[in-house]
């Protein structure tokens, strides 16, 4: 959507956001955000990476940088409230009635596929829809630290790819990723309760 510095959100925009993200309580979101440093007048603000990096716990999260990146659209340095809510909308709990509803032409943002896609994109930086061995190693190293040697990490990565890879291209595609996680209760794990 482009960065519009200090734009007031109009009513139509709020409605659009609601429809797009399915988030009925969008307007109340500031209440929940009041504890972070991001908040002050949320509706008007545009966030930059420094705002995110000011959150202390996020700074020590192993995947902190990638998470922050996930909020920002491609190549941009600022995200407005709408984009922020779009990203957060991935973590809405899936409600039972929505599973049957066929309202939106495209899948709602918080469907299982989209949740998994979000996680997939944390690995897949170059957006080629494949997790290569290097990308996997990078993420493993971030999560694991320096106590493990490269070969050991490499063997772990190899085994991971071996378990998932069905077409033998030595990388994990999104479908293989989804298949590996089919037994994991992603809908519950990737949901934050109050976002409904």
């Amino acid at each position: 959507m482009g960065s519009r510095a200090s734009t007031l959100l109009r009513e139509e925009e709020i409605e659009e956001i609601k429809k797009e993200t399915g988030c009925k309580l969008c307007q109340n979101a500031p209440l929940y955000l009041s504890q972070t440093s991001i908040t002050n007048p949320v509706f008007n603000s545009v966030f930059s990476r420094e705002d995110f990096q000011r959150i202390p716990e996020l700074a020590i999260n192993p995947l902190g940088d990638r998470i922050i990146n996930a909020f920002f659209p491609e190549g941009e340095d600022q995200v407005n409230f709408r984009g922020f809510m779009r990203t957060l909308a991935h973590f809405r709990p899936i409600e039972d009635n929505e599973k049957n509803k066929n309202a939106a032409p495209s899948e709602p943002l918080n469907s299982r596929t989209n949740k998994l896609l979000f996680a997939f994109r944390l690995y897949d930086l170059d957006r080629d829809d494949k997790i290569s061995r290097d990308e996997l190693l990078q993420v493993l190293r971030m999560m694991v630290g320096v106590n493990i040697s490269d070969e050991q990490l490499g063997s772990i990565a190899d085994r991971t790819i071996q378990e998932a890879d069905t077409n033998g291209d030595n990388s994990i595609s999104f479908n293989e990723f989804m298949k590996v996680l089919e037994k994991v209760d992603v809908e519950q794990k990737m949901s934050i309760r109050f976002l409904h």
């Binding site: 955000l33 020590i60 998470i67 493990i148 050991q152 378990e163 590996v180």
Partner: protein
Amino acid sequence: MAPFLSLLIYTYLVLRCSSLTAPVDPSKSQPMGSSLGQNSSSEGVPLVDVPMALGVFSVDYHHVQAPFEIVLWIMLASLAKLGFHWSGRIPAVVPESCLLIMVGLLVGGVIYGVRHSAPPTLSADAFFLFLLPPIVLDAGYFLPGRLFFENLGTILWYALLGTLWNVLGIGLSLYGVCLLCPSSLGDVSLLHCLLFGSLIAAVDPVAVLSVFQEMHVNEQLHILVFGESLLNDAVTVVLYQLFESFLRLPSVSGLDVLLGGCRVLVVGFGGLFVGLFFGLVAALTSRFTPRVPVIAPLFVFLYSYLSYLTSEMLHLSGITAIVTCAVTMKQYVEANVSERSNSSIQYFLKMWSSVSETLIFIFLGVSTIQDVHMWSWLFVCATLLLCLIWRGSGVLLLTAVVNKVRRNKVTFRDQFIIAYGGLRGAICFSLVFLIDDFPKKRLFITTTIIVILFTVFVQGMTIKPLVDLLDVKRKKRALPTVSEEIHSRLIDHLLAGIEDVVGYWGQHYWKDKFEQFNRKFLRRFLIREEQQNRSSILRVYQELERREQGADRETVHPLLPEEMDSIRRILSRNLLQFNSRRPTYSRHTLHHDRALQRHSSLGERDTQFVFLCAVCAIGPRSISQDSSIPEEQTAPQHGPKKHLSFDIENEKNN
């Protein structure tokens, strides 16, 4: 066939031995406070006569009577259990509890037929003091901690409010039924009905445990039903004592009711604190056991039992105390004692609780054969119906409220199973015997027995097909894979970050705080100076890696869940010993009880996770291939795969 034969032989022995004692005192045919399995205090015919010549062979049964009979009963119970599992198909259809009650009925019938008097009944004291604690201790020790605390609010909701709803509902409606038929039920007062309601409404942990264990429903459902059955003891105890004391008081005022309400809090929290106290003391004691590892398991049992007895002495909720004690001391004791002691503790707990449970059910069966049963179609059927109705409605209402605040909603199917799985058991039975005598007491006893038999037989047998029919979500039995582990961790980190962005102070925030407190104070105080620091972790890792290199690399071998669990336990235990400065952060559903750790330095990232991956990468190699170990470390004893954790621990201790 052998078990059945032995069963018959032992039954016969029981009869013979009991008949060796003096004739049964008729007034003692309902033993209240007499010991288990005894028929009389035998001051009967002395067997020792003045000898005429030196006797070569004599029988002195009185000398060993008490322990002998007890052992015979236990033997009967255990052989019965062996017998069922001998036939593969029966246990699949009929739950064990039903079979045991049937055996009890059989034995009771035989005894009655032979002696024409009531067989020994389960005395309340024996039940509450000896038979119940092992089962509850076992339940508390193996309680899935994380799941339990995540659902604690809901469990308490069901346990407290649900039980109250049931008690009042059943009591009041029963009184209404009694009023409808004043000719036969006229002398059952309101307080009597409420008293009866209080003891019949409570869901019994023993029965629930035995039935649900075989069902493998999804963990959330299991913990809800089971947690409720454990925690409703506080309410039951209070209400029962309350109504009983009301019965003895000349009149009941509003103040008494208010005091009763306060008493619930006192009983519940009192039990909690007693349990906490003994749990912490037990943890502290276990810290000093490394020199005498053989005794270490004993302390677990002693302290738990002590906490139970103490709270019973103070009329607090014994079950709450023992469960709290077990939950509190578990993590510290596991860290302090050797792996062998841990295995012993677990094994003994399982064994005792199994024996207890079997005995309870057999005695339930035996005690059904009574001399005098008072029967009233109206009362019995009304009770049965009302129990079902009030439980169902209670669950529905409470769930409707609690679903608004829960993340994982309780579905209708789960609700149905929760309502249907409200089995009554031996606790009601013992409580009904303890009522002060009044004209309709036999009616209460009969009704209680019928309700218990109905719930255990009908509900117990049909719940499994119902679970299949309704397609209730089952426990996932999948074997874990490395990919799942890694990706789940990624998601955990991701959600941690998102929650930080959003600033959500939820359950995880408080759990985080508790873990920090735990690490800073409790663990340092209660766990002995561990030799487990980074070097031992690296040793473990290298050991596993060596085995990997020694073994063949074939296709991907999944790890058995038990192995995974034991490996996780060691590694997470190892990890938490070193590095105390970091904030912990726990995520939604971690695969193990330890919190995910966020580290301020790159150096000590999620090492435990790595080792898990490393171990997963290795697969369940045959541990006997240790010939390739070149290092100077002593090679551990290698047994079957299940002892992987034990071996690693051994190595660590060397």
